[in-house]
Point group: D3
Chain length 340, copies 6
């Protein structure tokens, strides 16, 4: 039996309704989300034992976040309480040529002020087979980066598979470090990395590259450099996202296992209900796919792409899609016919 643990921050998400601008809003929809938590939700939704570890403030907002985790079937028994505030983000959902806007308000959150030693990782990761983290946690603060690195090292020692979503957020990384100061060390232990090739190069402090994903033959050379930098890496994956507009995306994916490039067909996604969390839906689908069909990497990749596409039809950060719905898409049925 597989058990996946993800570690990161859960945020209260306050989003305007009906595409209203911030200045028009007189109410906010309140949901929750966060890259690593969203991955755990995807997995729980597919029936995989999934646990999320974070640090929450001991107030009613923290308690409400905990209730949300429980509701979604994500194990939260290692969540710790402490710190002063729950991280927030405000979201204005765009439309057409108008982009969505995010205002982060997560500085000094309970998770940003977590320190190494807060979690007993050896105990927490017992019976865990997969550990997932993303580039958001080291972007929060030095202590959060340290706490994450602590977890990574324990997971590695315990022989647990480690996956990482690079998740570069330019509005974070405000504490005096750049990704290249922190990430190379942490990525040493990653077995699976999800991210654009240029982002990976940037985070690893390598020279800037400009990959041409349409030229499949050109990719192994580029990915191979990552494999060299990250000795435990066995799978590098990139989500292909062509933004026609905020309401129309085209989604594909590439997976490279050191030997072969796998390519998933690009799908049209229109209209977009909510694109936040679609990358996490890809990651969740990818982990599920690799757990279910480890030898069939094409299928794992296709599953991730289909999960990502379907996420765009769901309001909120989570991918509340069933395996059956993904299978229907994989089987070529895009009709959206009413089931009745």
């Amino acid at each position: 039996m597989n058990k996946v643990v993800t570690f990161g921050e859960i945020l209260l998400r306050l989003s305007t309704e009906r595409h209203l601008r911030f200045s028009q809003a007189d109410s906010y929809k309140a949901t929750y989300g966060g890259g690593e938590f969203n991955v755990a939700v995807s997995l729980a939704n597919y029936g995989v034992a999934a646990e999320f570890i974070t640090r929450l403030p001991n107030n009613e907002l923290g308690n409400s976040a905990l209730k949300e985790m429980r509701k979604l079937g994500v194990d939260c028994h290692n969540v710790v309480f402490g710190g002063e505030r729950l991280g927030l983000y405000f979201l204005e959902t765009g439309s057409g040529t108008r982009a969505s806007n995010v205002i982060y308000d997560r500085a000094d959150s309970s998770m940003a002020t977590i320190t190494p030693g807060t979690i007993d990782w050896r105990e927490a990761l017992k019976e865990t087979t997969w550990f997932h983290w993303s580039g958001i946690t080291p972007a929060l603060s030095q202590s959060a980066a340290d706490a994450c690195f602590e977890a990574i090292k324990v997971a590695h020692e315990m022989g647990i598979t480690i996956s990482t979503d690079l998740n570069y957020r330019s509005k974070l990384w405000n504490y005096g470090k750049e990704p290249k100061d922190v990430m190379p060390e942490m990525l040493q232990y990653s077995n699976i990395i999800l991210g654009d090739i240029d982002t990976a190069y940037f985070m690893l402090g390598m020279d800037k590259v400009n990959p041409d994903y349409s030229n499949e033959a050109s990719l192994p050379t580029l990915y191979d450099e990552l494999f060299k930098k990250c000795p435990k890496l066995n799978t590098a994956v990139t989500t292909l996202r062509y933004s026609i507009s905020a309401s129309h995306q085209r989604i594909g994916g590439i997976l490279y296992d050191g030997e072969k490039v796998y390519n998933a067909d690009v799908q049209d996604v229109t209209p977009v209900v909510d694109r936040v969390g679609s990358g996490d839906a890809f990651m969740g689908g990818l982990i599920y796919g690799l757990l279910q069909t480890p030898v069939n990497k094409q299928r794992a990749l296709n599953f991730a792409v289909a999960a990502c596409c379907l996420k765009h039809t769901i309001a909120g950060d989570y991918n509340l899609i069933t395996i059956e719905e993904i299978e229907k898409l994989l089987a070529g049925d895009f009709s959206g016919k009413v089931s009745r």
Copy 2:
């Protein structure tokens, strides 16, 4: 003066808002709908005298359904009260590649437990020129099927035109009978049938066919078999629906009168506000068209297709579209320009 009576079930429809999934909903929009009622609403909306006959529970949900009928200008003086509950359906409206979902909760409703003898059909159908029923009522229960058949026979004896929408619903038909056990007998009396050719064959217990609607010349042979099975049939109509996604439909139609195939141009419908009831909008438009321009079948068919297309832009089950709006579409104006 024409008067159309439709007979069937009206349901309380509880739908999630803003494309939310069932598990995200903390409220439901409450409207009403039901295939045969929706047809009556279309007709009332076009100025045709329309009556709906059903059985409602004697509680505030039943009374509210009655108020809805009155509001919409549908005559309801023959509605009877009895039974224990109003039928319900829960609707989750999909988007893009995610399909809409319907959860029926209509077992043992007041309409499902109706029995023959409940309505004095000879009295009720006085001054009626057209009687419409659909394949949903016989799918509910044996007694509902019997009650419907009773009505059909009286209507036939009284020389009333009878139309039928086959409306196959796989989630119904749970009482031990299959369509082929019930429908052939009932369809004996139908003058107009709306449905896919393969559905008609299936319901009539005929061999499975796979019609190619793009090959117009191939269709008369297939339709002719229906005319043979249904001796009173003079018009068979099929809605062509190509689902690009839940948000994008392409709608056309075919009418065959035993002599000639009429074909209406396929129209793009995007985005889709609500596709539930669009088949009933087609049926309502068809009846109106056949009443207004019985000799101009092409126009009747075009009217039905345009009504169906416009229905997709209306929230709820009903086609609250005016004749003027349909005429504008028929005249080729798809611009959706603001009238001011």
Copy 3:
């Protein structure tokens, strides 16, 4: 420093939600809008000193309209109170092939009953560099037309640039005059006119024309006739709008300065959140463009087109778009990527 004054009516806008038809609405969203006010909002939004002059009833609806002006940063210190009621309009927002509907309820409003002499224009227009009016005000009533003409003449005497949006509304002009009885005199003083060529000919009482905007070479001849009729005219602009449906527009623009035709590329706008006010967004962008880059007319026109396109993504009458967002579009980025 530029200061722009616009003069006209602000209306309470009562719109149905979620594309509901009027007969389905049990609530209305309440915002404000009006052609000339919307232009002032655009300009205030771009950082231009903008003032709106109108007449409001002395009740809580009038006061609320005033609060709205202040909120949006539009100077309102010359607004006068008087008359009996605030003008209203009811809006049903269409979708796809179903058009939006407007029910005006603005007869005998405080603005419609304004009379010449109400505003001390010489005082009000001190320090003003640009005065904007539209064809809506003379359509309201004889006294509103007279009051507007009074303003125009003062503005002209004071050497202020005058712009006009022709804004023909067939549901107005009910007081016994036609545009050709009123507009030619008023347009004598306009330096910039925004409108379709055929509308301009119609309002000026000239023979009907059928301009072919795709044939650029054919346009100077047509525009030149306007320059002859309007001796102060130096810039004639036309918004090109191709309505694929209520949810899909294609927007371009043409500017003619008596010497040269400038043409802005046609942009796809889909989906449409709200198209009301998009013409005013064009006008606001045009004034801004002509103020900022008077010698670069191509850029001014492109700015107007981009502003108009982006307006379609905003709920309500106003164009709450930043210069940065317009610049991004002008630079060719239509991706709508989340900023985070």
Copy 4:
């Protein structure tokens, strides 16, 4: 079988939600109401055949008002279409010591511009046993007063019982006439009048009085003067309303039949959900009571008071209360226990 016809105006009511002030509202709840229509709704609700006659504009707001009438079971087959606009009123619902505010916007409505001769009263009042009008209609305009007087005279000639609610509205009566110029003539034909004694004196142009309702013995003298002025009057009724605050009312009633004063116990009503229409609920209850138990005037009065009290618990103008609920109150059960 009794049939009651009421004649007056139906308004679109736009009310702020959750006790918001007008300046805080960004949406309005849209319902309908109007004194005489509200009376018809009460009666229909009690199972009495009730008809409402008015004049509506031929637009979607007028049609929606008609749908509302049908929904509520009020006969509307004599409603006429014409004129330019539906009357509106804006409502801000107070709380505690803060009063509710009404902004009327009904000038020049379709009903205000009705003229005598619009309705064929002799035809319309066939089979009618009771005709009800109120002091609002003559307050609208001279022509509305004339049209109402026309109806009164026909009703009188046809031997129909006539009831009148004095309904003085200080914000109306703007067309140059005062109540005492119009009402005395019209009240000549009233058999039942509902109103405060001082209001009646005022409207009839009599000297100001200051009745002391707690001194029952003092009332006959005062009422008798009304009987002298109104020769057909047989029943004068006064609603006693003690406003503790906007959220707490105390309601009683007095009925005088020329011989005896009947007094209904004062009831506490707290909290108040919506007090608009509570006077009409009293009137509706009174008519019902007088129809059902004409000889038991105490019971008719008690029924009216109980109906009025219960109305305060219902949102909107109408008294959607069942006879059973009123009977429970009359039987002394104020417990509000959940029925389950």
Copy 5:
């Protein structure tokens, strides 16, 4: 460590908003509730290990109910899936003298069709110290009564404390049995019973009594008869509820342990936000009180009354009140001061 298991039905609750009547509702708030589940929620909220056992349909409504249980921290690992539908109830919340109305729509629900043998009670009740059931389950159907009796007998054999809330619902008990046919046998094993004395006599088939709770000395004789009929009974408790109106309740309580009558002061509760579930809040508080301070029965009773009072301030079925808030009330602080 205590662990409490409750067994019963969870319903989807569809309630009108803002005190609207059913016929006014165009949407329903969707929450969940059910007597025995509400008790489990109270206990989980107080930090007691609480589990709820029921049967749910295997559809998205059943899954959503399961998510609700998890969210609220109620253990649900013994919930079984089966049957056809989730039980529903529609709620119209009254105000003042207008009572709330409940329309049950729970016939043939998954819980009503549960049969003995569905749950392995010996396994399910391992480590359980307290089992709670109520009179609602045997009211649903014969098979539900049988399944409940099965659980009771196993719990008794395992030496588990058994509590029962009599919860008489006149709208249930439709399957041919009366309480006195079923309940006496089941109540044999109850150690704690919550209910009115007359309800207990009625359910046990004893002669009708009319207890005077204000006469404390008269109660032991009446309670003693219950102790005779129910040999395991050690504590009988009655909630005193005086309904001034739907918006104003007065709540007290009486506890009798076979030796002494304990009496809790009556508290005013006004206004009432939602009284549904307040009896379950009493039961939850009572179990908590008896678990925490078994020897201090006065305090246990006071805790139950305070919990019941505070429940009335919470929307929905559950008592989302903290121990600290109850303690504040017990300490005499009713001020409701803002904590900041």
Copy 6:
């Protein structure tokens, strides 16, 4: 002409709707508020020139706060932009015996990180006659306390009247200082202080007292000690607030001018729509009263009490009450009658 400047923080207020608990909320109403800003709104509302000075983050939340100030007619031209975030507070509105809860999330807000020297006070306070600050600003941080003290000293030097609301908030004061370390120095310059006597003693580091406000004669001695400690003080005012429950308050007030105690009658306030900001409404009413009728202190006090009472009927932090409405209350009319 008077001009009042207030200085402090404006917060985004996120409040649950319909008395929901935080854990039930899936949306938050978004308004703004803050003690000193609320005072400015009151004054602007009464027609007094009012300005608010604060520091806002340069993002869309900061801009939206600025729009709110403008909308409400509060001068904001000295507001500065800087810092990282807008202060927030989450509000759960209680009912009856359940108290409201506030979760402050304002640490490190733009206002909390303001430093002396940010505002050019000598320039900003030109033409100002009254400066108001409260005990909240020094509770935020050392630098905010310093910035406030800087303003106080300049105001004092410029001969401006200074008023202070003590506004003790136990959840603030987290930066290592207690009120008694900071406030005595700052209060040296206050001419008017609003606060409970015991709070004043506590903040000034004096011995604890337990004033008996019902014993008027005992108060001068207590207030006199404050006058000794605060040499510029000429008026000390205390709001009397008796909390019957969260839904029922009783409000009075006491004013002492060094010579005489003025006492305003205690008023019942029930129900309470929103009590947040009612103290600021008192303060705003007091300043207005002292400005309008400086010699009639009784009237000034009565005005403050009436303003405070009426504030409880308004949703949100602000007192959107007109002078006319307050005058009506002062004249003894509590009836809340509909104005129509």
